[in-house]
């Protein structure tokens, strides 16, 4: 046993590490997708005063397994006349970006697959591929509902990408680095150092978070912005022609994207693996990941809570919200942050 351990941790260690993280990330995404679906259904049930799924296993805990078996047992049917390549490629393209994004997200100070210097850039550039995949899926399906939905997805995501990136630029000006671990390290020393509460850097920091959160909902196509699926208007939107595991992968990707989005919100606004109390021990490699996961799941549950509170917006309402409110406000916070940061320099220059 120890011989194997020595062998794996010796010259082969980079490969072992790679394999462990690869398996770990895939398992994390799969487990999240499975059990967030259950959490969503349970949460929806509680909000509507129902118990939610409670038949499969103890209190419904085997429901994801039952769903998975059901989806796997279904035939994968490619509708005639559709673009086979793009049709098959779309589920993969929607699943791959969140998996790649997870490699740079630090769940603890040492628990990160690749601690690269441009992690922030990587996450947000890969985030756009999601839109592309939904558009291709809708287009390749050769279905009117899917094409309408694809058009909606594109205009929605373009509209919400702008305020989201403006918010990220605001934070980038504050942090001065794109290394996610470094961004978290800057927020150490008690919860009042988290970016969400740093009102002396930018008095509108909580507003910035709200904008980020709304844009994240829109980017991940979650209700009240779920124009991609819109199951009560467009059958199943871009997924209309997908069945079995093709649909299942889109479904899993939605939850994987939520996890990535909420992880980014945790990193950027809530101090990642930093504990709310200013003791270094509590943010160490043992407790750090626990703090990260606690914050992450509070945000994920909020996403579920939002979905079951608000009805789907009308499409022009959605675009109005972005172009008339979110973009001007996020531009203003950007300017305000710049002004606050440069104020000492200006004062020193003048006096």
């Amino acid at each position: 046993m120890s011989a194997i351990y020595d062998y794996l941790t010796g010259p082969l260690w980079p490969w072992t590490r790679l394999l462990v993280y690869l398996v770990g990330i895939c398992a994390f995404v799969a487990a999240n997708a499975a059990y967030l679906v259950l959490a969503e259904r349970k949460g929806a049930g509680r909000i509507q005063r129902r118990p939610g799924p409670n038949e499969a296993g103890f209190a419904g805990w085997l429901q994801p397994v039952a769903d998975g078996i059901k989806l796997l047992a279904k035939q994968v049917m490619i509708p005639p006349g559709c673009d086979r390549l793009l049709y098959c490629l779309a589920p993969l393209m929607v699943m791959a970006p969140p998996l790649i994004c997870l490699t740079v997200i630090p769940y603890g100070e040492t628990l990160v697959a690749r601690d690269i210097n441009v992690g922030l850039l990587l996450v947000f550039s890969l985030g756009s591929i999601n839109v592309m995949a939904l558009m291709l899926g809708g287009w390749a399906s050769r279905n009117k509902f899917a094409v309408i939905s694809a058009a909606r997805v594109v205009s929605q995501n373009i509209a919400y990408e702008i305020p989201m990136l403006l918010v990220v630029i605001t934070l980038l000006m504050v942090t001065g680095t794109m290394n996610l671990n470094e961004i978290i390290r800057q927020q150490g020393g008690g919860f009042w150092h988290w970016n969400f509460f740093r009102v002396w850097v930018n008095p509108l920091m909580p507003v910035t978070f709200v904008i980020f959160f709304i844009c994240m909902l829109a980017e991940t196509n979650r209700a009240p912005f779920d124009m991609a699926e819109a199951e009560s208007e467009l059958v199943a939107g871009a997924f209309t022609e997908y069945g079995g595991m093709g649909f299942g992968v889109f479904f899993m990707a939605e939850y994987a994207n939520i996890v990535v989005g909420c992880s980014m919100a945790t990193v950027l606004f809530f101090g990642g693996w930093q504990s709310p109390l200013p003791f270094a021990v509590l943010s160490g490699s043992l407790f750090g990941p626990l703090w990260f996961l606690a914050k992450l799941y509070v945000l994920v549950l909020t996403v579920i809570w939002v979905r079951w509170t608000f009805p789907r917006t009308q499409f022009y309402g959605l675009l109005n919200l972005s172009w008339k409110i979110l973009i001007p406000v996020s531009l203003f916070t950007l300017l305000l942050t710049g002004a606050v940061m440069k104020l000492p320099l200006v004062l020193r220059h003048l006096f």
Partner: protein, 177 residues
Amino acid sequence: MKAAFQEIYGGFMSLLTGMRITLGQAFKPTITVQYPRQTLKMPDRFRGHIQLVLDPETGKSRCTACKLCERACPSDCIAVDGAKLEGQKTKSVTDYHLNFTTCSLCGSCIEACPFDAIEFSKDYNVVSFSRDAFNHMDLVERLGARSKAWAQNRPPAPPAVPAPATTPPPPEAPKTS
């Protein structure tokens, strides 16, 4: 300009109000009835098929087979037959058949009954694979089943009044059914 800011602020606050309400609902107890395992109690005014009233005193029907219900029925779905049993002053019902497939639950039979011997049951699980189950519902047989349950569940008869100590006990204790 001011109106625009007020609209944004008011809109955001209304969103928070909505979220507060759903959060409040999420922590209240669920109201689902787990149907096959739990059932609702039917309200008093619920009209199931008619059934013979079980007299809580005797555990038998009060029906005297006077056939007023049979005559009152507009759909002709009741068939009653009775016989005078040994040692009884009145007739009692021996046969009460209801054709539930034509019954419209109008309640005329119940109104017509001078002895309050029939009532609406609270049974809503009236489902079958064939109409034969409801063509000739034997209400006397159904009453028999309830009568058995009544006999099992009735509180034990109060003990016989102890006789005064001076007199000898009666040779045979009064029989309780």
